[in-house]
Symmetry: C2
Subunit: 379 residues, 2 copies
């Protein structure tokens, strides 16, 4: 079993081409991790997820601890076996969903108690229990428990929250049981305040995590604010560790963050959009519910090699979505995840060739003039 | 292009092993046709449907004429291309769903007018328009428009309805445009009355359809009543044409009907059950929602070779169904369709080997004593 490691094979400006090695396999970075909330990337067979080029998926500790329960997943052989995903898995700490989904929360220095949104049962999540749950799930990459304040909170609140997250980081790292191929990431907080972000990063660096994540972004702030925070923070991030921007984002968010040195991403956008009739294409987003697609024999994206684009017309997918047929979300989700992996493949290729600037320029070219077409079709 | 044809290669008692040749390929009979109501076998990719061994799927004229519309399907290249199913397709006439789903029906000698259950638009369905819609859909096997009385109606009503269906049969056959590889089937009606069934069959035989269906069964009557009707009717059915029992049924219904000489079946049972948490196994039906499956590491059916059984535990599928994850219906539907095709494969093999009686005996053996286990696992 190899150690958990991160190696950089090329850089292009601040962007890095690299590989993360885990107990369940390698991850080429920059990487996008499809979200498998409750032990399934919604509406996809795991074989199909792998076919898109995805090498790692994300599981949500909050959802899995409530149902089916971490002890049960452990008894059944861990999350890889349970969900038939033999590759690497990253789990979040559960903290973010406790704040956004659960009821009757009580936060203390020790941790947070809350009621399940499913059946009202009471649970406690502390840095130690979160790490223990993620060990039971058998996550290759474990995340520290952090607190996620609202991005509209004032600086004093953000500062205190960031300090609490740092203390929880220390306890999380101490609770993490080092095993070959398994790693734990700290999470930089501090809202939109550069000095707080710097302080958070420096505190975490001292704790020697296997990687650092950036939390508390893509929570409602404009894209330029997110990029400014990254611009201020990235010089303080260690060069020899993977950097993970949590919950991000749109294709343009990802392109901008990769150019600033981010290595890993996750977001529900491609999967959730697939269930609401939206398709990502290199010409922009397509709302397949729109009546203008009803007679369109063309594929969603004529340069895409996913099964939805190879074998079906826009007219057919439009019909499926209007008729609320399950195959609609199945095809759209597959396409969207494939599109995101196409994008990551192209970003990696461009960094390796030192042509990232050119790629970004073409990515932002007017998407109707045809110039964008060859952008992702070579893969 | 080969003609539409049916050949018998072996018989075992009344049961027949045969092949139907159509414009889009061969169908080994006895055959079970998964139902692709609105141009999709719900929750399955068509490649997966083919992987189960299914060679033909059924489309519902009523659903397709309302949405996306027969003209649109024709413009888009026909149903095969539209739904990415290159193999044979049978469409029903639309009559059955008009009776069961639409609103404000008005029946005359000419046909039936009705309002769409989706948007209230008015439609007319006559023997001629039904045939024309099915031609636009490009069905390999077209069904005549018939009337489907309630099985509780008295003999006079059933008789009059059967006579109407015979007149509609004549008009349907006249409207059908003969093309190589395409066929049209007549439908025997007559409820549970042997003399009416005989009269219906004889009337249809004179019209020289490419095959005969048995309609108006599996509509609420007990299984033994259905079998008695078949026992009375089958001696009057032509030996050189395929025989299709519409809307049937449970595995035991199919086994009993095959032994009586039926060649083709369709039913929503495997697909619909897959969306309500039910799995068919050679040990009987499993309700995967039951709490006793929550920790069960075994597959749904240990002898089944479908992806749901090869790669997932009962505990996982239980979790998916409880969490209302789309992958739950996806896996259960795949398994159920695979199970039905396993059953058909075994029935064909047994007829070919002259061992159908032995198979049926084993099929009905106490499903807990282990004797049933090897029944379907050889395929």
């Amino acid at each position: 079993m190899t150690d958990f490691s991160y190696t950089v094979s090329a850089t292009d400006g601040a962007a890095r081409l690299g590989q993360v090695s885990t107990a369940h396999g390698m991850i080429d970075t920059p990487a996008f991790m499809p979200v498998g909330t409750a032990g399934t990337v919604k509406a996809m067979m795991p074989e199909s997820v792998a076919e898109t080029g995805a090498q790692i998926v994300l599981g949500n500790t909050y959802h899995l601890m409530l149902r089916p329960g971490a002890d049960r997943v452990e008894r059944l052989g861990g999350l890889h076996k349970f969900m038939n995903w033999p590759g690497p898995i990253l789990t979040d700490s559960g903290g973010f969903q406790v704040m956004s989904l659960s009821k009757l929360r009580k936060m203390t220095e020790e941790g947070v108690t809350f009621q399940s949104h499913i059946d009202g049962r009471k649970f406690e999540l502390t840095p130690e229990t979160s790490i223990d749950i993620q060990r039971k799930l058998d996550a290759d990459i474990t995340m520290q428990l952090d607190e996620c304040p609202a991005h509209t909170d004032d600086k004093k609140v953000i500062d205190e929250s960031m300090q609490l997250s740092l203390r929880w980081a220390e306890r999380s790292k101490a609770a993490f049981d080092d095993r070959p191929g398994y790693g734990v990431f700290g999470i930089v907080q501090g809202g939109v305040f550069n000095d707080l972000r710097e302080q958070s990063a420096k505190g975490l660096i001292n704790m020697d995590f296997h990687g650092l994540a950036v939390g508390g972004l893509a929570v409602g702030e404009p894209q330029n604010v997110m990029f400014e925070v990254l611009d201020g923070l990235m010089p303080h991030m260690p060069a020899d560790k993977p950097r993970y921007l949590m919950g991000v984002g749109t294709p343009a968010d990802i392109v901008g963050a990769v150019s600033r040195g981010i290595d890993m991403f996750d977001c529900v956008m491609p999967t959730r959009s697939g269930r609401t009739g939206k398709g990502f294409t290199r010409r922009g987003e397509v709302n397949i519910r729109n009546a203008r697609h009803a007679d369109d024999p063309r594929p969603l994206d004529e340069h895409c090699k996913c099964p939805a684009c190879k074998n079906y017309s826009r007219a057919y997918i439009h019909h499926l979505v209007k008729a609320q047929e399950i195959l609609g979300p199945m095809l759209l989700t597959w396409h969207n995840v494939h599109y995101y992996q196409d994008l990551m493949w192209w970003l990696r290729k461009s960094i390796g060739e030192g042509s990232l600037d050119e790629f970004i320029k073409r990515f932002h070219t007017d998407k109707e003039d045809g110039d964008i077409e060859p952008l992702l079709k070579e893969r």
